[in-house]
């Protein structure tokens, strides 16, 4: 299928020898050195030359630390993605239960680390358990969602073909769904690579004695700005390598353009009542699992609050009204920042993807920066963002956008590539301009991926805002949770956790509603 549509991207072979990303990286390094020079003496940024010198002088220490962190990240990556595949297959095998599985996956992804970290450390004791678990938790959701889309991204006619040959569900899964899902899986894995590394580093904050995350804490407290940025550079470089390698793997596995997806809508359409029932069932399952997990692990009620503790704290206790008021005020403050940050991150990601589709040459400049922004730990970049944009709305929204745009960018890029080859051939035959091709063929084809990104960005945005509140603004839920954790107010911490999860789930359901409207028109095969 790779025919005419590829021509605009074709270049003389001599130029092709230079890796596409090289000019972008060089430009990025020059910009970085310039910024470091400009900020010299303010202890906020170290340039690439200092970073190289520091890395050279501390090669042994950094290599050992990176090895520890990467090993944990790799385990987390494997376990988290396997879990995502298992969840997706489960949702596919039990179509009635798919809503509950997706809801459960969402709620677990929403759990803030301040609440779960002490539990993980108590469960595992010293060692790498919490780091690996947090890395796995950081990746499974962003693989699960695209995978669910991918498993459905097959035309009904293919399934008819399978049935005509008298084959059943397993064949359909292997020969149709798996093939259709592959590009989406690769996109999910690409998003997961930087997330796993960040997750492993943040996991080290729960009481590890070695690793890149430990060194980051040490460097920041020690005012060692060169060490801080050396560590940021190493984690970013490794994440970029992972991203690139997975992309190459994807191109090797699925080089072809997809077949046409223009199919008539399936007959089934869930009623509102049925969806409400699924929602109620999900809530019930979540509460039951929450309680059962803590009881089975025999976790002490002092820090592992059960649903009934939260109920007492928020409803029946004498100070319940005050607790509710505190929680509601913080939640409102948080939402005021979350929504603009969410929209900004999503728009930025989709717009960048569109620009890169129109001007493929720009990918060399943009992608390294995008991956770097995603994989540099936010604790090191937040002070810079705050310095440039302030602690008010702009700075906070920027932090949220930086933390959320990446999944949208990757998913949309993948989605734009899903425009049916035959449709693109028609545009090429009529010598349509790239903008027309983008508007009329590629954007509609991108919609399923875009909405998948929009859905998985809901919890990501909420988590991002709470991080920004903790690091920069000192208000809202992020501040409330940090304060509750430091004063052992685990009732408030778990109430905040439950509220955040509920709000994220509601936001997710809202986006899903919009999605159904849009997809009914543009991608009905998704609505099974």
């Amino acid at each position: 299928m790779s025919t005419v549509a590829d021509l605009p991207g074709a270049r003389p072979t001599a130029l092709a020898r230079v890796p596409r990303w090289l000019p972008g990286v060089v430009r990025f390094l020059r910009l970085w050195e310039g910024a470091a020079w400009w900020l010299a003496g303010r202890f906020l940024l170290a340039g690439p030359l200092d970073v190289i010198a520091h890395a050279w002088a501390n090669a042994g220490l950094l290599t050992r630390a990176a090895a520890v962190t990467l090993e944990n990240a790799a385990w987390g990556f494997v376990i988290g993605n396997l879990a995502a595949v298992a969840l997706a297959l489960m949702a596919l095998a039990l179509p009635r239960g798919a809503g509950v599985v997706a809801g459960l996956a969402l709620v677990v992804f929403c759990l803030p680390l301040v609440a779960t970290a002490p539990i993980l450390r108590v469960l595992y004791g010293p060692g790498s358990g919490p780091q690996i678990t947090i890395a796995a938790l950081a990746v499974y959701y962003t693989t699960f969602i695209p995978l669910m889309v991918g498993l459905r991204a097959a035309p009904a006619s293919w399934f008819d073909l399978i049935r005509l040959y008298g084959r059943g569900g397993p064949s359909a899964l292997v020969q149709v769904r798996a093939m259709a899902a592959l590009p989406y899986l690769v996109a999910g894995l690409q998003i997961a690579a930087p997330a796993a590394i960040l997750g492993a580093m943040i996991g080290e904050f729960t009481g590890a004695d070695r690793g890149l995350g430990v060194l980051v804490i040490r460097a920041m407290r020690g005012l060692d700005v060169t060490a801080t940025w050396t560590l940021a550079t190493i984690s970013a470089a490794v994440a970029m390598a992972g991203y690139g390698a997975l992309g190459a793997l994807g191109r090797w596995l699925a080089p072809d353009r997809p077949e046409a997806l223009l199919t008539p809508p399936p007959a089934s359409a869930t009623r509102l009542a049925e969806r409400a029932a699924i929602g109620a069932l999900t809530v019930l399952v979540v509460l039951l699992l929450w309680w059962a997990a803590m009881e089975l692990a025999d976790l002490n009620r002092f820090f592992a609050k059960r649903p009934d503790d939260v109920w007492r704290f928020l409803v029946t206790a004498p100070q319940a009204a005050a607790a509710r008021a505190t929680l509601a005020a913080a939640m409102v403050e948080t939402l005021l920042w979350t929504i603009p940050g969410y929209v900004a991150g999503l728009v930025l990601g989709a717009a960048l993807a569109a620009v890169l589709t129109l001007y493929p040459a720009a990918a060399g400049s943009v992608m390294p920066i995008a991956v770097a922004l995603r994989s540099v730990p936010i604790v090191t970049t937040a002070p810079l963002i705050v310095l440039m944009l302030g602690r008010g709305a702009t700075g906070t929204i920027a932090i949220v956008a930086v933390m959320t745009f990446f999944p949208a960018l990757v998913a949309c890029l993948q989605g734009l590539r899903q425009a049916p080859g035959q449709v693109l051939d028609v545009f090429a035959a009529y010598a349509a301009r790239p903008v027309q091709r983008l508007l009329h063929a590629q954007l509609p084809a991108m919609l399923p991926a875009f909405f998948a990104a929009a859905r998985m960005s809901v919890p990501a945005a909420v988590l991002a805002v709470t991080v920004a509140e903790w690091l920069a603004t000192g208000r809202g839920m992020g501040h409330l949770m940090a304060l509750s954790a430091s004063t052992s107010n685990y009732n408030m911490l778990w109430s905040a956790t439950a509220t955040l999860a509920a709000v994220s789930a509601l936001g997710y359901a809202g986006v899903a509603l919009l999605e159904r409207r849009a997809l009914r028109r543009y991608a009905p095969e998704q609505l099974s």
Binding site: L44, N300, F303, Y490
Partner: protein
């Protein structure tokens, strides 16, 4: 909150320990009881006394094998101690008081930092020498520390509304970069970081202005105090011996820390300076007279007053000196 404090994991460990002991038979003179001490932060010279106790066999000679569990920014001390994963935790009076208010059955057994390490750090060109100087200035701190600043202001009649509070990470960069005029921090970490980078700073120790609060306190649960007294005495005895050895030779304590944690990213100039600066916080006339970790009714009363201002009403029952009395008795 009536759940048994001895968790399954814990009792399993005890059971296995007993089995091991039986298998070894009567030939073994003394079995090592395995316990854990939960530290309050990442490994550094902050806990050098414990490393000395371990390396020089102080604990081994007392029949203990102590695992030193690292803390961290997202590693609260209280959960592992409540769960029994750690026999003892290193906390601070305010953290312990809030945990007790939330139903945790903790008591403070000993006090490693007699003087609270909290300080206001500023630059010499625009110094904070006394609490009044904070008025009209911008202070950078993690907002979780708000109660500390409020208490300092109340103790010294400072109008907190005249201080501009800027939420920052726990980091000296905002002060050096001129984004804030002063920082709320420990006198033993951020000022040391600035000193090592050649940046002179002014450190106003809050303990000198009425902020009396025990820090780096040893905490254990009521259940442990009732049922594992011998282990607690041995643990604290080893600690006391380790910290006395630390005080006698700071260089050796620093070198031991660096050698023990080659992968922790520690550097000698920072560690030796931190080791020096924590000495006056840990040792006083009181400890010289009675021994490491000591506290009296009088110091407890002062702590209760500060905790009251922090919004944490407690009684003297939060402290239990009986273990320490055994440690220093003979």
């Amino acid at each position: 909150m009536t759940t048994s404090l001895i968790t399954r994991r814990h009792s399993l460990g005890l059971g296995l320990g007993a089995l091991g002991l039986a298998a070894l038979g009567p030939g073994v003179a003394r079995a090592q009881t395995r316990v854990a001490l939960q530290l309050s932060w990442l490994h550094s010279v902050q806990f050098a006394g414990s490393y000395i106790a371990d390396e020089r066999g102080f604990w081994r000679d007392l029949g203990l094998s102590v695992r030193l569990d690292s803390g961290g920014p997202n590693a609260p001390v209280e959960p592992p101690v409540v769960s029994g994963t750690a026999l003892v935790g290193i906390s601070a009076a305010d953290y312990t008081a809030s945990a007790v208010a939330q139903g945790a059955p903790f008591r403070i057994l000993g006090v490693a930092m007699q003087n609270n390490p909290f300080a206001i750090a500023s630059l010499p060109g625009n110094p904070v020498n006394e609490p009044k100087d904070m008025e009209g200035k911008r202070i950078g701190m993690p907002t979780a520390n708000m109660p500390v600043l409020q208490t300092l202001c109340t103790l010294n009649d400072v109008d907190i509304n005249r201080i501009e509070i800027i939420p920052t990470q726990y980091d000296a960069a905002p002060l050096v970069a001129g984004q804030v005029d002063c920082l709320l921090c420990w006198s033993t970490d951020l000022p040391v970081a600035m000193y090592v980078r050649g940046i002179e700073s002014v450190t106003m120790l809050m303990a000198d202005f009425g902020y009396v609060l025990h820090s780096q306190t040893y905490i254990a649960t009521d259940d442990t105090i009732a049922n594992r007294r011998a282990d607690l005495v041995a643990l604290l005895k080893g600690e006391a011996m380790g910290w006395d050895a630390y005080r006698a030779d700071l260089e050796a304590a620093t070198d031991l820390t660096l050698a023990r944690f080659p992968d922790a990213g520690l550097d000698r100039p920072t560690q030796i300076e931190q080791a020096r600066r924590q000495v006056p916080l840990m040792f006083s006339d009181l400890t010289d007279a009675h021994g490491f970790g000591w506290f009296t009714e009088e110091t407890v009363a002062q702590n209760i007053e500060t905790l009251g201002l922090l919004g944490m009403p407690v009684t003297a029952d939060l402290w239990d000196r009986s273990i320490l009395e055994e440690v220093h008795a003979g």
